[in-house]
C-alpha cells in the first residue's frame, strides 16, 4: 500500500508545498519524448570517440601500435596522453586520477588512448585493434594485503572518545567480529555519455550526463588549458546517477573535448555497458572489524571499530567516503567510549567512488552487526538491545562530538513496533521455524540516522537564477541536477509557493554553468536543501522588489500586501500576477535575481576529529521479514514496513518514490548484487547478465511505506529533510533479517557471520556453519 493519494495540480495556487505533483518530465518520459544525451540529433559531420582500455591491472606500457586501428574504415585520429593540451589529471579533490595512462597501468580497463572515428561502431572496433605490449606486475587486489602493507590512497583518520580498549576490558562481556561488505555497481540505466562541441570563441560546449556540471567545466578547462569561462556545460537530465556520475562523468567529457579540440567537430563519446562496468568506479567494498564491551542488559560501554575502504588505485572521493563511514559507524547508538579508525586502502582496481550513502552504509552496517551480535550473545531480542542503546538526552554525544538534538527514533520504532505487530510476528515466526524443516523465516527492525551536509564544508553552498519574463512566466535555473529524483519538480513547488502562483507558470529545466556558476555536485542528498533554499532566496528577492514597487505604485502600505492565488492583493484592490509583472516591467523593475544559500553552523576540525559536520540528521525505520531455504540458500523478502522521516515533505509522492527505490537498491546491494573480479583483476561481473540488480519480482509482496509526521527542527527549506540517501540504509534490515532466520537454526544463540552480498551461496555457507555450531552444542550438552 502506498500511503498517499495522487494529487492532481488543482486547488489554490500558493499551496504547492506538501502536494504530490508528478515529476516534471513524467509525461515526456512515458511518451519517449524526454531526451537524453544520446538521443540528440547528430550533425552531418559529428564524430565519435572511444577509449582504448588496458587489458592488464598493473604494469607498464612497453609499446603501442596504432596502425591496425588507423587502417580501420572511418577512423580519423588516435590521441594519447601526450596530446592533452593541459593537465592529464581529472581528480576531484586531490591528484592522481589520470585521464589517459602515460606509462604506468594501475587498473584493468584503464583508458590509454582515444580513437576518433566517423561512427560509433568504427571507433569501438578500431579501439580494440590497437596493439599494446605491457610489462605486467603483480597487482594488489586483496584488501588484507593492502592493509598489511599500509598501502593507502590517503592517510588513515580516526575518531576517539574515552579509552575504548579499557572500557571494553572493564565490561561484563566482550565480543568481536568482522564483516566483508561488497561493493556495488551503480547500473544507472543510461551509461556514461558526453558530447563536446567547439565554440566560435575557441572554447567548448559540453552536454553531459553528470551530477556535477561545474566540475566537468573546470576539468575540461584544465585538460584543454583554457580559462573556465571558455567552457560551458549543460545538463538537462540523467538516466540515473546514484553517485556514479558525480566524478565519473568528467573523464569522458574531457576526452570528448580533446577530440573536439583537435578535429574542430562535435564529438560524442558513449561507453558500451561492459566498458562502463569495467572502467568506472563503484561503491567501495569494505572490510570491517569490531570489538565491543557491554553489560548484562546489553548496554554498550565501549567499541573499537576499524573500517577499511577498498578505494582502488586513486583517491577520487575516497577520503570523504571513508570519513562518512566513520561518522556512521555509530548509526543511532550511543558509544560512551569509542575508537573508530578508517583506512583508505589502495588496490589495483578502478578507483571506487560515490554511491548513494557515500560510505555511510558500509559504516552503519557495523553498528547493526554489533547490536545483533550482542542480542544473540545474551539471548535477547535484537530490538530490545537496539532500543536500549539509542541516543537519548544525556547520552547524546557522537564519537565526533556533535551533540544530537532530535530524538525521534524511539517514537518511530514504537510506531512501527505497534502498527506492524513486531512482537506477535516475531513469536509467530519462532513458532513457524520450530516446525518448518527447510524454510526458516527471519524478522528484523533496523533504524537509520544519517547525517545531512557535505562533510567538506565549502560544498554546502548553492545558487539559483530566477527570471520572470514580462508575461509573468517564470524560468528557474539552479545548481542542482535532475537525475530522476524530482529535484526540478520540488524547486518549482518551492518557487510556486513563494510567489503564490500555479506550477504551470514555472519552468525549471537544464542546469547550465553559464547560468548558475561554481555549483556543488548534486550529491549527499543535498539537492533540495541547498538549491531549494537558493531558489527560495531568489524568489524572495524578486518578491521584495515587487512589494516595494506595489507600495509605491498603488500607494499602499507594505503590511497590507499579500501574494495569494496568482494575485497580489493590497488594501486598495488586487492585480493578477501576470499583470503585476507587466506593470513592473513597464516601470523598469528588475525581474531577475540570483539566489544564494550556504548551510550555517557546520564545521569539522580534522586535527581534533570533532565538530558539527552535519546540519541535522534524517531518520528512518525498516522492518523486514524474510524466508530462507536451508537447502539452497535462496531467499525472499516477503514483507517490509518502512516509516521514514523527511520532515515536512515538499512532495510526498516523490519522497516515497525515493524511499522505495532506495530501499530496493540497498536490498540489492546486500543480497544479489555480486561484484566479482578474476585473479588478474578484471571485473568478471561486467554486464547485467552476470551482475543482478533487483528485478520486479524482488519487490516484497507487501511493501508499506509511510512518512513520519514531523518537521525538521533545523531551518531547512519549508522544514523539509533530505531524502536521497538515508533510506538506502533501510536495506540493512533485510540483511539483518536473513541473519535472524539463520540464527533460528541455533535457537538464536549464535550470531551467524554473513558477509555481503548475502547471495544464496553465501547464505548456504552461513547456514552450514550455524548447523555445525548447533551440532557441537548438542554434543556438548549430551556430553
Amino acid at each position: 500500500m502506498r500511503h498517499f493519494e495522487t494529487d492532481k495540480p488543482k486547488g489554490p495556487a500558493g499551496n504547492a508545498i506538501g502536494r504530490s505533483f508528478v515529476h516534471e518530465s513524467a509525461i515526456k518520459q512515458v511518451a519517449g519524448k524526454a531526451f537524453y544525451i544520446d538521443d540528440k540529433a547528430e550533425d552531418v559531420n559529428s564524430l565519435h570517440a572511444y577509449p582504448v582500455l588496458s587489458t592488464i591491472s598493473c604494469g607498464k606500457i612497453l609499446s603501442i601500435d596504432t596502425k591496425p586501428a588507423l587502417a580501420e574504415a572511418g577512423v580519423i585520429a588516435i590521441y594519447s596522453a601526450k596530446d592533452i593540451p593541459g593537465k592529464n589529471d581529472v581528480s576531484p579533490v586531490f591528484t592522481g586520477d589520470i585521464l589517459l595512462a602515460e606509462e604506468v597501468i594501475e587498473f584493468h580497463s584503464q583508458p590509454i588512448l582515444l580513437v576518433v572515428a566517423e561512427s560509433y561502431q568504427s571507433a569501438r572496433i578500431a579501439a580494440r585493434k590497437v596493439k599494446i605490449e605491457y610489462e605486467t606486475s603483480t597487482p594488489v587486489l586483496d584488501i588484507k594485503e593492502a592493509i598489511a602493507k599500509e598501502h593507502w590512497v590517503r592517510p588513515p583518520h580516526a575518531l576517539h572518545r574515552g579509552d575504548a580498549q579499557q572500557s571494553i576490558i572493564d565490561s561484563a562481556h566482550q565480543i568481536s567480529g568482522e564483516l566483508t561488505v561488497g561493493g556495488q555497481e551503480h547500473f544507472y540505466l543510461e551509461g556514461q555519455v558526453s558530447i563536446a562541441s567547439p565554440t566560435e570563441d575557441g572554447g567548448m560546449f559540453i552536454e553531459t550526463s553528470s551530477q556535477h556540471p561545474s566540475e566537468v567545466q573546470h576539468l575540461v578547462a584544465k585538460v584543454l588549458n583554457q580559462p573556465f569561462n571558455y567552457v560551458t556545460v549543460e545538463m538537462r537530465r540523467m538516466g540515473g546517477g546514484f553517485g556514479g556520475k558525480e566524478t565519473q562523468a568528467a573523464p569522458w567529457a574531457c576526452l570528448a573535448a580533446i577530440a573536439a579540440y583537435y578535429t574542430g567537430k562535435k564529438v560524442k563519446i558513449r561507453l558500451a555497458r561492459g566498458d562502463d562496468f569495467r572502467s568506472t568506479g563503484k561503491r567501495h567494498p569494505f572490510y570491517n572489524t569490531y570489538q565491543v564491551g557491554f553489560d548484562d542488559d546489553g548496554l554498550i560501554s565501549g567499541v573499537d571499530i576499524n573500517v577499511n575502504g577498498f578505494c582502488g588505485y586513486s583517491a577520487d572521493l575516497s577520503d570523504a567516503i571513508v570519513d562518512r563511514a566513520l561518522f556512521h559507524a555509530d548509526n543511532a547508538y550511543y558509544y560512551p567510549n569509542a575508537h573508530i579508525n578508517g583506512n583508505r586502502c589502495k588496490t589495483n582496481t578502478v578507483s571506487n567512488t560515490a554511491f548513494r550513502g557515500f560510505g555511510g552504509p558500509q559504516g552503519m552496517i557495523v553498528a547493526e552487526q554489533i547490536l545483533d551480535d550482542i542480542a544473540y550473545y545474551l539471548g535477547k531480542d535484537p530490538l530490545d538491545i537496539r532500543k536500549l542503546n539509542l541516543y537519548k538526552p544525556g547520552r547524546d554525544l557522537t564519537p565526533y562530538k556533535q551533540k544530537i538534538d532530535q530524538f525521534i527514533l524511539k517514537d518511530m520504532i514504537e510506531q512501527v513496533e505497534q502498527e506492524s505487530d513486531y512482537w506477535s510476528r516475531m513469536q509467530a515466526i519462532k513458532d513457524f521455524n520450530k516446525t518448518s524443516p527447510i524454510i526458516k523465516k527471519g524478522l528484523s527492525l533496523t533504524p537509520v540516522k544519517f547525517g545531512i551536509s557535505f562533510t567538506v564544508q565549502h560544498l554546502n553552498q548553492a545558487g539559483a537564477l530566477l527570471v520572470i519574463y514580462s508575461d509573468g512566466s517564470v524560468h528557474v535555473n539552479h545548481g542542482g541536477t535532475e537525475m530522476g529524483q524530482g529535484l526540478n519538480t520540488k524547486i518549482a513547488q518551492i518557487v510556486a509557493q513563494a510567489l503564490s502562483i500555479d506550477m504551470k507558470h514555472i519552468l525549471v529545466n537544464a542546469t547550465r554553468t553559464d547560468k548558475v556558476p561554481n555549483t556543488s555536485p548534486t550529491a549527499a542528498s543535498s539537492g533540495t536543501d541547498l538549491n531549494g533554499m537558493a531558489a527560495l532566496n531568489a524568489a524572495n528577492i524578486i518578491k521584495e522588489r515587487l512589494i516595494e514597487f506595489a507600495c509605491e505604485h498603488f500607494e499602499v502600505n507594505k503590511d497590507t500586501i499579500q501574494f495569494v492565488d496568482n494575485q497580489l492583493i493590497h488594501d486598495k484592490g488586487k492585480i493578477s500576477f501576470a499583470e503585476l509583472i507587466q506593470l513592473a516591467y513597464i516601470n523598469r523593475i528588475s525581474l531577475s535575481a540570483t539566489g544564494f544559500y550556504a548551510t550555517p553552523e557546520i564545521y569539522y576540525d580534522r586535527e581534533k576529529a570533532e565538530g558539527r559536520p552535519f546540519f541535522y540528521y534524517s531518520h528512518g525505520i525498516a522492518l523486514s521479514e524474510v524466508e530462507i531455504d536451508l537447502l539452497t540458500g535462496e531467499n525472499t523478502l516477503t514483507r517490509v514496513d518502512i516509516l521514514h522521516d523527511v520532515g515536512n515533505s515538499i512532495n510526498p509522492a516523490l519522497d516515497i518514490g525515493q524511499i522505495e527505490g532506495a530501499f530496493i537498491q540497498g536490498m540489492g546491494w546486500l543480497t544479489t548484487e555480486d561484484l566479482r573480479w578474476n585473479e588478474k583483476g578484471e571485473l568478471a561481473s561486467n554486464a547485467p547478465a552476470t551482475y543482478k540488480i533487483p528485478a520486479i519480482g524482488d519487490t516484497p509482496a507487501e511493501f508499506n511505506v509511510k512518512l513520519y509526521d514531523s518537521q525538521n527542527p533545523a531551518t531547512t527549506v519549508f522544514k523539509s529533510k533530505a531524502v536521497g540517501e538515508p533510506p538506502f540504509m533501510l536495506g540493512i534490515s533485510a540483511w539483518s533479517a536473513i541473519r535472524n532466520a539463520i540464527a533460528s537454526i541455533t535457537d538464536y544463540k549464535y550470531a551467524p557471520s554473513l558477509n555481503t552480498p548475502a547471495t544464496a551461496e553465501c547464505i548456504l555457507n552461513a547456514v552450514q556453519v550455524a548447523q555445525q555450531w548447533q551440532q557441537k552444542q548438542q554434543q556438548k550438552n549430551q556430553g
Partner: protein
C-alpha cells in the same frame, strides 16, 4: 527487399548490414530515439518494442528486445515503438494511452530511461488482456525490464491502474476505432499482397547478405552453398556477439521464415517442437503435458527473450548453462537435423560434444526436437538455482525424470546444466536411483554421486563447492516436494490444472517455490 510496418508506416528496405539490430536502425536511421539502449545485450529491457506477427490475417503482438532482434527478421512484421502510443503534441495526462497515463499518475518514472521499455511491455500486456491479469502475470510481463530508481512498487501499481480507466477508444490504439488502427488495417492489406508476391526476400549489402528462405529445401540449399553462413532465429545470443564482442557475420540465414521449423505437434509419439519456434509459442502447450517444467520456462530469460529465442538456437549454441537442454535430455529427447544430404535423428544427450561444440555438421540445420510420449508413471522434477529469480542464468539447473512403478524408481535420467562444459547426464546419480524406493535416504545417497559425475568450475555465478552442495541438497528438496507441498502434489496430475492454481494466487507470498514445507 524486405517489407514491414513501423507504427503506421510501410517500410521497404533493400540494403543494410545483416548484423544491424532493430534498435540501432530505429535510433540511428529512423530518428526514433524513444527506445533506449541500456545494455545492448537483452538484459535490461529499455529497448523493448512491440512486434506483431501476422497469422491468418490477424496481428498477434508481443514484446521483444529491439537490441537483440535483427532488422532482417522484421520482414512481414508490425513493429510498434513508444512514439506511436500518444500522437498529441505536448499531451496532457488525459491524452496519453492508459498505460502511459497510469505510469504518470502512479509516479512510475523517475529518471525515465527505462520507462519507454516498461511502457511497451505494459502496452502489450494491456492489448492482450481486457482486465487486470493479476500480479503474477505482471511480474512475468515486466521481469525483463530493469528499473534502478523506483523499486518497482509504483510500476506494479500502474500495471493495475491502467486497466481501471473508462475505456476511451480515441485514446486507445489497441481499440479498433482508432485512426492508428484504421491506418494499420489498410497497410496490412497491402503488406499481405506484397508479401505474397515477394517470394524470396533477401538483403544484399555489398558482400554481405541476409537470407530469408521460405522453405526447408531453400534453407538447406543456402547452407550448402554458404557453409560459413550463420543461422539466426531470435538472435538472443548472436546479437550479443555483435554488440559486445564486435564480431560480425557477413552471411546470415534467418530460419524464422521456414514453416517446417515453426511447427508444434502433440501426437501419439510425443511432442514435436519446431527448432525455430519461439519459446512463448510452445511453452503453454508443452506444459500441458509437463506442468512440472513451467517454472523452468517461466524463468528462462525474460518474456522478451522467450518471445524471440528458440530451442534450436539454444541447442545449436550448446551453452553449458542453457536451461532447456537439461530438461530435454532428462526427457530423452531427440533432435532432427537436415541438410541437402538428408535427415538425421540424434540423441540430444549425445549431441553436445564439448564446450560449445555439437555433432551438427557444417551444412546441417536443426529442424525439430522430439520428446517421447509421456508415460503415466513418469515423474519429473525441475530445479533452477540462480542469483535472481527473474531473468537470470542458472548457476545450476537440475532436471530429474524417472518412472515410478511398483513403488520404485526406474529409468532415472538426471540431467544438469552449469556443472560441466556441456549440459550432461548425471549417469552415476541415475544408476544409484534405479530400483530404489523413493525415500529421503535413497535420494541423498544417490546425490553423493554428483561429485562422481561432475567436477564443476567456479565462476562469476557460483563456486564449484556451492554447485556441488546445492545439487546434492536439491535431491532432498525433491523428496520434500513429494511429501507435503500441495501444489506439487497436484503438479503430478498430468494436467495443466496445477499450473493454473499457482498462477491464480493473487499475491505471491513467497518466491521460494516450495515454501509450504
Amino acid at each position: 527487399m524486405i517489407q514491414f510496418l513501423l507504427n503506421d508506416e510501410m517500410i521497404e528496405l533493400k540494403s543494410f548490414a545483416p548484423s544491424l539490430s532493430v534498435l540501432d536502425w530505429l535510433r540511428t536511421n529512423m530518428g526514433k530515439v524513444g527506445s533506449k539502449e541500456g545494455c545492448a545485450s537483452g538484459d535490461c529491457g529499455a529497448c523493448t518494442v512491440v512486434i506483431g506477427d501476422l497469422i491468418d490475417g490477424q496481428w498477434h503482438y508481443k514484446s521483444i528486445n529491439a537490441c537483440l532482434m535483427l532488422l532482417g527478421n522484421l520482414h512481414g512484421k508490425h513493429v510498434i515503438t513508444v512514439e506511436a502510443l500518444s500522437t498529441t503534441i505536448n499531451p496532457d495526462v488525459e491524452d496519453l494511452h492508459p498505460v502511459q497515463r497510469a505510469m504518470v499518475e502512479c509516479h512510475g518514472s523517475q529518471c525515465g530511461f527505462c520507462t519507454p521499455g516498461f511502457i511497451m511491455s505494459l502496452f502489450v500486456l494491456y492489448m492482450n488482456h481486457t482486465t487486470y491479469p493479476g500480479k503474477e502475470a505482471v511480474i512475468q510481463a515486466l521481469g525483463g525490464n530493469l528499473c534502478r530508481c523506483t523499486g518497482y512498487q509504483p510500476i506494479l501499481k500502474a500495471a493495475e491502474q491502467c486497466f481501471s480507466y473508462e475505456n476511451d477508444p480515441i485514446k486507445n490504439i489497441a481499440h479498433e476505432d482508432h485512426r492508428f488502427t484504421q491506418q494499420v488495417k489498410k497497410l496490412t492489406e497491402s503488406l499481405q499482397t506484397s508479401l505474397a508476391a515477394n517470394q524470396i526476400p533477401l538483403i544484399e549489402h555489398g558482400e554481405q547478405h541476409f537470407y530469408l528462405p521460405q522453405s526447408l529445401t531453400q534453407l538447406c540449399q543456402l547452407k550448402t552453398a554458404y557453409p560459413e553462413a550463420q543461422f539466426v532465429a531470435g538472435a538472443t545470443d548472436l546479437s550479443v556477439e555483435f554488440s559486445q564482442r564486435l564480431t560480425y557475420q557477413d552471411q546470415l540465414i534467418s530460419v524464422r521464415y521456414c514453416q517446417e521449423l515453426m511447427q508444434f505437434e502433440n501426437d501419439d509419439t510425443g511432442l514435436h517442437i519446431g527448432a525455430a519456434l519461439p519459446y512463448s509459442e510452445f511453452v503453454e502447450r508443452f506444459c500441458e503435458v509437463y506442468p512440472e517444467a513451467h517454472e523452468l520456462f517461466e524463468r528462462l530469460g525474460s518474456l522478451q527473450v522467450r518471445n524471440a529465442g528458440s530451442l534450436g538456437g539454444s541447442i545449436a549454441n550448446a551453452s553449458p548453462i542453457g536451461d532447456p537442454a537439461p530438461l530435454l535430455i532428462a526427457l530423452n529427447a531427440a533432435i532432427e537435423v537436415q541438410s541437402t544430404r538428408g535427415k538425421r535423428v540424434l540423441d540430444l544427450a549425445e549431441f553436445f560434444v564439448d564446450y560449445r561444440k555439437t555433432q551438427l555438421a557444417e551444412d546441417e540445420v536443426i529442424v525439430a526436437i522430439h520428446v517421447p510420449k509421456r508415460r503415466p508413471t513418469l515423474k519429473l522434477s525441475c530445479h533452477k538455482i540462480s542469483k535472481r529469480i527473474e531473468d537470470d542464468i542458472s548457476a545450476v539447473c537440475l532436471v530429474l525424470a524417472y518412472q515410478y512403478d511398483d513403488e520404485t524408481i526406474q529409468k532415472a535420467r538426471c540431467a544438469m546444466g552449469g556443472m560441466a562444459a556441456t549440459p550432461a547426464l548425471a549417469k552415476n546419480v541415475a544408476e544409484a536411483l534405479n530400483g530404489k524406493t523413493l525415500t529421503l535416504e535413497n535420494l541423498q545417497l544417490a546425490a553423493e554421486q554428483i561429485e562422481v559425475d561432475f567436477q564443476p568450475l567456479s565462476d562469476v555465478r557460483a563456486s564449484s563447492e556451492y554447485r556441488i552442495q546445492v545439487s546434492k541438497n536439491l535431491f532432498s528438496r525433491i523428496w520434500y516436494q513429494t511429501q507435503e507441498a500441495p501444489q506439487f502434489k497436484s503438479a503430478n496430475l498430468h494436467t495443466s490444472n496445477a499450473v493454473q492454481i499457482t498462477n491464480a494466487a493473487p499475491i505471491i507470498h513467497t518466491r521460494i517455490n516450495h515454501a509450504a514445507l
